[in-house]
Assembly symmetry: none
Homo-oligomer: 209 residues x 4
DNA sequence: GATGAATGAGCCTTCATTCAT
DNA sequence: AATGAATGAAGGCTCATTCAT
């Protein structure tokens, strides 16, 4: 009489344990023995549910990316379609969501980033995510800037997001989400017409009522 | 009498082999066997010259950081002390020097960045480098901006440098140095008074004569 | 469910293999590869059960010492508490028990003795054993000799035991247990009052009935 | 122009360094690198003078045995041929000579003893030495005891010498030479006719005059 | 005579994975 | 579904020895 639905218990349990172990000892030190112990299960279980260590790492990366994507999406849904500034801020905010700033997540992400260059599966995941961030931003910018300029500014914003994130990952204090938002907002104010910001404020107030 | 001065031959030879191997198979796959084979020497030699694998990795990181530091310094020396824009561009240019953009160097750097969180020695090196970049930039900015604003803008520029670099590392085409310079110059133009740019052009012309 | 109780099979199996290998090639030549092959298992198993080679060697020494201690204890239990000569002979006999004279055990013991000076854990084990032998002997002697004299004679007997044992270890014929007993009995006869020997004979006969 | 007689400098220098290193780290830890460094010469020199590590260890053992043999011989030469007790004491004294009790020598000797079982060359040296000690003692005893008894007592004395030596090797305080002599003299007094001791005292006094 | 850089086999250990239970 | 004992390849490192200088 097999227990049903163990998948839904074991898989997140192991993915979470993976991030915890990477947080503590790095990707290099994250052995299956350590991960399975952290999850409180036997080593063999990893092969059972993920077909091997690679499968587990892959699933872990997917999990992080899904959370990021869902976070951004959820924020966008609360913003008026015409509030371009609001939408850009939502994208930035999603990338600096508290879940994404969790030490576990930051270290895991960075470890995978470095690893992606030598692992096709991770590489693909990473690239998809990269492009999605860029195209989200560009999509909004193209509504108020010429295509070429939109691409240029989008690249700058994406770079700011990743750069702040990367630099923060190395500091003991972690990533300063508030500073990140201020730097990027400051950048936007100097790149985009001020009417957009007025509109932003107006639409925000409406929503507030 | 045995051969003397082999240190100066073997050490760079092994450091270079290390970067090549990391470029090809990643830090995880970079075994001493692979590295020594790439260098065309026996495995034992790594211990002879670096006291172990850790010593070699450490030396490799130091080598990259030294090259970066020297590159920036060399560029700064050719710029007039009062040409603040020129000096900022020099700092940026040093960080996007062709040597720093070599795939070998990029992948090695990124691998170490991820590793730094779990290795005190690498961590310290990374932190020193981080802070140096920021303080170089801030030093120039403080001559024309209030201290607080200088710090703010410096953080943005550092983030742009690292962000562009990081995103480029993952792209098949590599890092676009020219685009990097244009994005950052564009940012500077919107943050700093235009007289600085005029002075920059004047001083550049003088030097050209 | 995996096999349980393998501990009780594997540990003695590996300890025995260790002694066999030391018997054949010495402690220096006793590599984990050789030991695991002799035990018919894979090399990794040593770490699984003993945490490493040191743990295995430690356990091997403890095993020998436990056997010795149990052998002496078992013999003492069959002797009347007042049969001092009988008790001394039992102690000697336990030290020259056939198990202790097994070439495997002799060579392993000697190897550890030499090693003990540079290995704290082995040193402690050795010292405890040394002191126990001496105090066992002295305890009996103090019942019939002044304390100082008892200590003196005890040291002589302990030296005779170890000396005969050591010299025998080097001869091709091995240790002559019978000669050992005769030499020590002869020594006792010249050190202790003859009544003790008469009592010894009487008590032995009683027990024989 | 080769330096002549370097053999006589280098060989003892290396033999002494070998004992020092064995004293510090044991035979197992005594690498050629450590030994050559302790001797203040290059590693290659060991092969030059001894043909390899084995040759050096062999020479070291021979050196210790020669010192022992010469020590006993020198003491015997000062004793009157008819002073049997004096001659036996001289043999014992030679074995507990201060040079033989040096920690360096004790540990080296013990290491070799254990090693001898797996090294033909060391084994032969050890056996020769063993037999010599026994035959020296027996030779004297046969002048006053029946052959069989002489062999018996000789074995006991040899065992006492080696036993006291061995047990002392493991003690932090080292070997107690004085106690050794007292234990063995006590043994002799109970095994040999008292006239021998009177003669011993008489001959000693004559020599004193 | 002496050096020490270089070798490469062998060491102990780790680890992803398998499989009998 | 789950265990964990067992595997064996691969890892980093040590070390006796060689040899060009």
């Amino acid at each position: 009489m097999p227990k049903v639905g163990m998948d839904e218990i074991r898989r997140p349990q192991l993915i979470n344990a993976t991030m915890e172990v990477i947080d503590q000892v790095g990707l290099q030190g994250a052995s299956t023995a350590l991960i399975s112990r952290a999850a409180g299960v036997s080593p063999g279980i990893i092969n059972h549910y993920f077909g091997g260590k690679d499968g587990l790492l892959d699933a872990t990366m997917r999990s992080i990316l899904r959370q990021l994507s869902e976070g951004v999406q959820a924020r966008l849904e609360t913003i008026h379609p015409d509030d371009i500034i609001g939408r850009l801020k939502a994208i930035v905010g999603g990338n600096f969501d508290s879940h994404q700033l969790d030490s576990k997540v930051v270290k895991t992400w960075l470890a995978f980033w470095s690893q992606a260059m030598h692992n096709q599966s991770l590489y693909r995941l990473q690239r998809v995510n990269e492009k999605r961030l860029l195209s989200h931003i560009r999509l909004e910018l193209k509504r108020v800037l010429p295509a070429e300029r939109a691409q240029f500014v989008a690249q700058a914003i994406a770079a700011l997001i990743d750069g702040i994130w990367l630099r923060g990952a190395l500091t003991p204090e972690g990533i300063n989400s508030d500073l990140a938002q201020r730097i990027i907002t400051d950048y936007l104010e100097r790149q985009l017409p001020s009417e957009l910001f007025e509109k932003h404020r107006t639409l925000q107030q409406e929503q507030g009522l």
